[in-house]
């Protein structure tokens, strides 16, 4: 018993907190660097398919997304299948060529990630692919989730 009392008698048993702001700042900088703030608001429904043999895309900066799916009309109503790039729906297929060509000039190693709704048909996907070929953006990626 006396042992414990001796220990208690000694003063200053605090954790030093002077380095805490430094640690917090370090974490803060890490998250600031990794964060990608710009997220688009989807105007089409994209429910991804699942697959087994998939790969990760490490360099998120190289990726440009292209969404294909039925247009969301509000509630549970869906319209025709449409293509969306960034925040806008694409009315005419030939626009894709120009948009993607501009993006390719900015980022020569561009990877176009196609996020296609699972209930789509290949017709529109083929059309998009033809446009991408014309634009010269040949690296593509069919976005899929891992099979559970």
């Amino acid at each position: 018993m006396s042992k414990f009392q001796k220990k208690n008698a000694k003063a200053k048993q605090e954790v030093p907190t002077t380095a805490m702001p430094d640690i917090v700042f370090m974490l803060l900088i890490f998250f600031m660097v990794t964060t990608v703030l710009r997220e688009v608001t989807l105007q089409v429904r994209v429910e991804l398919t699942r697959a087994e043999n998939i790969e990760k895309i490490e360099q998120k900066r190289l990726v440009s997304y292209l969404y294909i799916g039925p247009q969301v009309l509000g509630g549970n109503v869906y319209g025709d299948t449409k293509v969306q790039i960034d925040d806008a729906l694409i009315d005419e297929m030939s626009f894709i060529r120009r948009i993607m060509y501009d993006k390719l000039l900015e980022q020569p190693k561009l990877i176009v990630s196609l996020r296609v709704d699972r209930e789509s048909e290949m017709g529109i996907v083929t059309d998009v692919q033809q446009e991408l070929r014309q634009a010269g953006t040949l690296q593509i990626n069919y976005s899929t989730r891992r099979l559970q």
Binding site: V24, L27, I57, G123, T126, Q129, L132, N141
Partner: protein, 187 residues
């Protein structure tokens, strides 16, 4: 002048709330950050067709034609096949030299080309499942080759490489998947 300044006490910016501010920012970025990486099936499209230059000749036996028709049925070299069959068929076709040595299958894994064609009404999901199986076949072959030569599976072998161009397994089994030109009149 200097003496006077020294004499004045407590002329510091109060920094006790610095940690609080930093924490607040930290929490904001923690909440906003999405760590999930994009996963998917990578593919390289063929460059646009050049009218002045005819496509390079390919021997018929080096080409495995996979068609997914509008009903979502898979035809390999014009014969119907189940999705579950695709992996086996592709593996046999690509690795013919080490397996069956069939006259009608590819000369070597390097020469083998899997050509994929779809109709406009083909369901996307079935197309992806088929593509997944084709990739699965290549993964099997690469894993086996990597195990045989280096004693680790392909993913671990690739992680150990200094640069991706040193990949010998990939040189033996390059994935030649080509998207066929769509029919001009089909709608």
């Amino acid at each position: 002048m200097f003496k006077k300044k020294k004499g004045r006490a407590g002329a510091e910016i109060p920094s006790s709330s610095l940690a609080d501010i930093a924490f607040l920012l930290l929490v904001f970025f923690l909440v906003v950050t999405t760590i999930d990486v994009d996963t998917g099936i990578g593919l390289v499209l063929p460059p646009p067709p050049d009218e002045s230059e005819p496509p390079p000749p390919i021997r018929e036996r080096n080409l495995l034609k996979v068609l997914v028709n509008s009903q979502g049925l898979i035809l390999i070299n014009e014969r119907p096949a189940a999705v579950t069959e695709v992996r086996e068929r592709v593996a046999n076709f690509v690795d013919n030299a080490n397996r069956a040595n069939d006259e009608n299958l590819s000369v070597s894994p390097q020469a083998a080309i899997v050509s994929i064609k779809t109709d406009r009404q083909t369901p996307y999901e079935i197309y992806i499942r088929m593509l997944d199986e084709v990739r699965g076949a290549y993964k099997e072959l690469r894993d086996a080759e990597s195990m045989r030569r280096f004693g680790v599976n392909y993913d671990r072998y690739r992680a150990s490489l200094a640069s991706p161009s040193d990949d010998e397994v990939r040189r033996i089994y390059p994935m030649n998947v080509s998207i066929a030109e769509p029919d001009p009149g089909s709608n």
